[in-house]
Amino acid sequence: MLLQQLLNGIVAGSVYALFALGFNMVLGALNILNVAQGAIFAMSAFVAFYAMKLYAVPFVLALLLAVIAGGLINMILEMIVFRPLRARGGSPMSTLVASIGASMALLSVTQKLSGSQIERFPFNSLPDTQWIAGDVRVTFIQLLVLVTTACVLIGSYILLNRTKLGKAIRTMAFNERIARMLGIPTAGVARWTFFISGALGGLAGVLLGVMFNSVHFLMGEAYVLKGFAAIVIGGFGSVAGVVVASMLIGLSEVFSIMIGIGAFKDVVIFGILFCFLILRPNGMFGRDEEPRP
């Protein structure tokens, strides 16, 4: 029983990690907290859903479409909202507020297009197989989530540490002015960072939608706050931190349900978030920054 719950917690945590990584990237490289990530989460899930339901597109292809859609939408947001805002020196306040507005507009569009109902994926769109090992049952979806997350993590590592784009992103995260002085095309890097971030959010959305077999335009909002928690607890700027924190959040949820305070699982998470904000705002692995006078 315990092992099963552990597995469930880690699977949930993996989805949170995918979402939070997208958040973390944009926050780290561009100092923008993009609340619209939640809307993109839902929109991508719908893209996959409609592809499969209306056009009988196979799952893998639908997933790919959704991921690209997520990336594109986020990228467009960057171009029409955040680029001009940053050009006039957007403060953290103004970018966050702009992202809240964009989020609302996108959510509303999704609502209009999809109706406010909860949709379910077509029957048999995914293999039903399960593997049983002693007390523990792993479904295909769960395995898919774990494998995908592992691939994404490896991919991120390679991206951030071995590619030119990755180095550019890390330099921008460190200090944007220096990055520009070094000749890094910050505009292009910003665009790609948003694309990747949106793609990750979209990936998380589809996986979650399939896992719980429900797609609804507001599905992403809860994850926005969990993404925040992951970033703060894990220490933003640290990929490892965000992933570990996401796992912890997933596990804490599962255990809350187990002990019977399931209704308050969110409160537990936020409680932990607050403790970190007060005692250790840089999170578990975050960078230590002394404020300059």
């Binding site: 507005g101 609302m104 209009k112 928690a229 936020f270």
Partner: protein
Amino acid sequence: MNWEEISYWLIIYNHAIVTALINSVTALSIYFSLRAGIFNLSAIGFMAIGAYTAGILSTRLGLPAPVGITAGIMLALLLGAILVYPVLKLRGHYLAIATLSFAAIVQAMAMNLDGLTNGPSGLLGVPAVVRAWHVVVVLAVLLYIAWTLQKSRTGRAWDAIRTDVSAARAMGIDVEIYRLKAFLISTAVAALAGGLWAHVNRVIVPFEFGFVQLTMALVNTLLGGISTPLGPVLGALVVTTMPDWLAGFAEYREMIIGALLVAVVVYLPNGLIDPLLGFARRFGRKRAVKEASR
């Protein structure tokens, strides 16, 4: 229009008007924080606290509205005071996250503490004793307070803190205390809005204190701009009554408002009112300079 028509119109649209007025109060709550440079997104959470306290005290204990509303404000201030010390040390994003999370926790509690708040179905039967003119009086008092403070030493301190914290310290301004004052005022005003709302709407549901409402409140405040306390009030009045004069587009309200918020933040960072004021000011100044150089 004669008096008959006007009073008829007022009765029909009474609910919309009162709602718009209460939204103005909420917008003022956000204004006080933003004016001091505090990115405080907890307004909806404190509004919920004010609303539920007033609602519970009047339905369970039969206490009159003013008592319930005042109790709501006291409770909010207590929570706010506890929250403020750790939270105000945070900067930028962290502060936003902390206050947003607080509001989310309040909503979650409202949904789950069935015994107290009656959960998702909401608290029913709150006596509808608050009238439009009550809210107008409250608004007038708040505007007086906001206006007077803004022109005074306190307002200058807040402006200084908002623009440059270190320079403000170097002027002898105790940044921490002023931030605290702004935060607590915001808290009290938000709870007041909530308490009034409870006695207008008769029903309090947790759903009303979520992300969408927060966005609306932000739009209200920012559309008018925070350079003057009239800004958020006018912003709230305009946006809340929008469905009525946007008839055909009412369905697309959220979309329009979201897009509007983005446009305002990006292109009109001082809101809509300020450019108009700025124009008037510059016009006045040009005349003065012309006079002076003769």
